[in-house]
Amino acid sequence: MNSNRGLDHDEKLLFEVGDVNRTGVDLSEPENLNHMIGDSFSDSEIGLAGLSEPETVRHYVRLSRKNYSIDAGLYPLGSCTMKHNPRLNEKMARLEGFSEIHPLQPISTCQGALELIDLISSWLKELTGMAAVTMAPKAGAQGELCGMMAIKQALLNKNESHRKIVLVPDSAHGTNPATAAFLGFEVKTIKSNNSGLIDFDDFKENIDENFAGVMITNPNTCGLFEADIVKISDLTHKSGGYLYCDGANFNAVVGKLKPGDLGIDAMHINLHKTFSTPHGGGGPGSGPVVFSERLEKFCPAPLIENDKGEYDLIENLHEESLVNSFGRLNVFHGQMGMFVRAMSYMLSHGADGLKRVSEDAVLNANYLRASLSDRLTPAFEGYCMHEILFNDDFLKGTGVETLDFAKAMIDEGYHPMTIYFPLVIHGALLVEPTETESKQSLDHFISTLRDLVDKLKKDSESFKAAPVFTPIRRLDETQAARKPILRWKEEPLIAV
């Protein structure tokens, strides 16, 4: 039976269309020399299905057409920052001088690579107003780990490892408590007040002699700037603790203010959010961390040193400049391919452009807020930063839930916003338009959402059934978790 529908083609699994005898690569013939592998040699079948080149191209092109993408439409995932990914960045990352160099080449043959890392480091330090930066972390979550490990090392260095308590607001990303717990800290949750900000009194009450530090996202996951941040950092330092800032939302303030002025000690920066490296369906990311002077010497390996234009790479943990380092986060020197893309973005914008980036991102979010507030219900009063958070009050009495509303947006041609996050808001809908959407694009989005809200009372059933215009309808996630099928397997032959 033909299950193709117009441009949407059914595409079977690679293992159903390919086989072990097909290939799409021409290689020269081996000479069948006697092998030198020893007893671990094997030539038994692995079972890898292959395809010729035209079949391969068709397989993946057909698959690609089942994906939504920022290139095809507004992608308002709050806290994820789905902004345009400039193609110049891709071209620059593919220069052979960056993409075709080995991490362990003689230092004299990779001076350009070290210069590039030094250049992006100096930009990040200047933009954040911080003393030091490490480019090692491979993603935001590893950046968090890096920042918190530096704090742990600093406490150890002061013989204060009894300080075990890390305070985390209830609105934080799940990675924050997971990171602190992974490092053996005890996580204590602090409350948000009814303005969506950290409750300063609750924060104060939770500080005792075992206080190690606090992890704060700023702007926070409710899309608000933490107004008490300087009070919090002062009290943190006075109490012998450290302030970790989750920089996931740095894109709201880049070029507008220096996070160093807020009194933070460490902050990771997601190059794939603020600096436009592509999300790639879930990675690769890159999560450099900036440090205050108090934490500088605990940086992980490697370091780059610049002696009158000659660059050197300090990669061995025994070296003198790494003697206080907390160690090494991964093999080699970080996500070079991502550094080049981010550097291309920074050079393109410059200081004036980056200020515009955050202003437009915040302007766009507040424009959505102003244009939707009589239909959807904002979770908090007042202006927001780069993203606007709604609760599900507007759905009350309709029988439609946040998930249904999100799925209905898909039928209208939009990727839904982030839903059910942050956890502090019932049925949360977090919308981040980013600065790369035009006013026309926002106006279309606004009118679509307004029409959907108006439809709630008239036709709630259609929300429950959505989406209907997708290659596949709502999927049974319970079944997937209860009886996990995590790979293709050949169906056993049934004896007749």
């Binding site: 799409g24 690569v25 592998i37 020893g38 007893d39 040699f41 094997s42 692995i46 890898l48 690609s64 939504y68 993408s69 920022i70 789905m82 620059m92 220069l95 960056f98 160099i101 080449q105 043959t109 990779c110 001076q111 590039l116 250049l119 107003g129 491979k138 979550a141 590893q142 780990l145 807020l262 592509p278 999300h279 369906g281 879930g282 990675g283 690769p284 890159s286 025994h318 160690g327 991964n330 093999v331 080699f332 996500q335 391919g337 991502m338 050079l347 393109s348 437009d360 302007l363 102003a370 244009s371 202006y383 035009s438 006013k439 989406p467 999927l475 079944q479 978790a481 995590l486 293709w488």
Partner: protein, 449 residues
């Protein structure tokens, strides 16, 4: 500014709708003590052409692997990547989509990840795989962490021939006290000595295969001993192409396999982004970190894919999660799976053979060279040579003469002088006879003239 669509007219109208005169009114929560719009000591915006010139200028200061006969490995390998791979991964729908949280409009990503998980399971000889990690080293650390959760034991034994930076990453990320990790870097892989270290407190033994020095090992006997003590065998594979000629880690008794997958589909990139592979047995799947894709049905009974087993993950479990990992190496896993699809079984095995034979040919030439001694009894596409001179000096001099000759062991372990003349030399399908002749001719010059 070419990336910003709003015009000044738009901005003015939007401020009107919001009810503000100045955009800085939106930043009113920023404390007064913090200056808005400070001065940055940075240049202003540049045209596409200007940015291209600056970055090309920097790139040109490097000698890239296409400009010189190239023999570096030690955890990152140069292979030919078919043109199709880079073309497909730059399709908008793959490049500019997010983690597949809305499965109805992400089946493209979800299906290729399901296929990827199948390929990784097959190659490593394991039951299940996750949807990738950052790289081989973080994969290895996550594998150790997983083994500790499963066995509820604290001690870890690392084989002396494990990549030194992998050992450092494990030590750093496991954040255990130093004493609980047994590791002393050396050339000697000795099963008996490893066995003698396994007691009732050991959670796992980590073995790299082929090892850091390039030697290949059988692990069945070791695996039996490890299992008899209730511990787990973690196998690390740095050069995934070796699996086309070697018994799979699963076939030799591995419980968890952690690999660097860069060799397929991903260029050298000065060390990143790369792609960590991780696979295990069915019974441990709920302890596996990272994203996992599973098959299910939609409301009409049609087959489809979703992210699954999320109850292990940080966004649900918060401080009780199996790992803090969130992102994986999505696009790198796409490159990996496309390259492997193009190769197929026949192509993959042929590629593996070509790599091995390239190494044998260089081995044969080096063996006859006075003062040069290959240390390996077995190898896949990389081996260790003892040089008549210091290896760091050797590679610098070879680079001056236009050959990127290998990785000095002392680059990774510079505390022990006994490694100073050892050089790791990798070969692959990219090396021609003339590359090898250049290597030999110049090596003689560098050492003896």
């Amino acid at each position: 500014m070419r990336y910003l669509p709003l015009t000044n007219e738009d901005r003015k109208n939007m401020r009107g709708v919001i009810g503000i005169d100045d955009v800085n009114e939106l930043f009113s929560n920023v404390p007064r003590s913090v200056s808005l719009d400070p001065t940055f000591n940075l240049p202003n915006h540049k045209t596409e052409m200007e940015v291209g010139r600056i970055l090309s200028g920097i790139a040109n200061k490097n000698i890239n692997s296409n400009q010189a006969p190239f023999f570096l490995g030690a955890g990152a390998y140069k292979h030919h990547i078919p043109a199709t791979v880079d073309h497909i991964i730059q399709r908008s729908e793959f490049l500019t989509s997010y983690t597949p949280y809305q499965p109805e409009i992400s089946q493209g990503t979800l299906q290729y990840l399901f296929e990827f998980q199948t390929q990784v399971s097959l190659m490593t000889g394991m039951d299940v795989s996750n949807a990738s990690m950052y790289d081989g080293s973080t994969s290895s650390a996550e594998a150790v962490s997983m083994a500790k959760r499963i066995t509820k034991r604290n001690k870890v034994v690392l084989s002396p021939t494990l990549h030194p930076q992998y050992a450092e990453v494990i030590k750093t990320l496991i954040s255990a006290d130093e004493d609980s990790i047994d590791y002393k870097f050396s050339e000697d892989f000795d099963v008996t000595s490893l066995i003698s270290k396994i007691d009732e407190d050991v959670s796992c033994v980590v073995v790299q295969n082929p090892d850091f020095f390039g030697s290949c090992h059988t692990l069945e006997k070791l695996a039996d001993h490890i299992h008899s003590k209730g511990a787990l065998l973690v196998v690390v594979v740095n050069e995934i192409v070796s699996l086309g000629m070697m018994k799979s880690p699963g076939a030799m008794g591995a419980d968890i396999v952690a690999c660097e997958g860069q060799s397929l589909g991903n260029p050298l990139n000065f060390g990143g982004p790369y792609i960590g592979l991780m696979s295990t047995k069915d019974k441990y799947v709920r302890q596996l970190p990272g994203r996992i894709v599973g098959e299910t049905n939609d409301m009409n009974g049609e087959k489809g894919f979703v992210l699954t087993l999320a109850t292990r993950e940080q966004h649900i479990r918060r401080e009780k999660a199996t790992s803090n990992i969130c992102t994986n190496s999505g696009l790198c896993s796409l490159a990996f799976t496309i390259h492997l699809t193009l190769l197929g079984e026949v192509g993959f095995k042929k590629l593996s053979k070509l790599n091995h034979e390239a190494a044998i040919k260089l081995y044969n030439k080096l063996n006859g060279l006075e003062g040069f001694a290959v240390k390996n009894k077995s190898f896949f596409n990389e081996f260790t040579v003892k040089l008549p001179i210091n290896a760091s000096v050797f590679v610098e001099k070879m680079a001056e003469k236009g050959v990127l000759a290998g990785v000095p062991v002392s680059r990774l372990e510079n505390q022990d002088d006994s490694f100073s003349n050892l050089l790791l030399v990798a070969s692959s399908e990219i090396n021609s006879d003339s590359d090898r002749e250049d290597f030999i001719k110049l090596a003689k010059e560098v050492c003896y003239e």
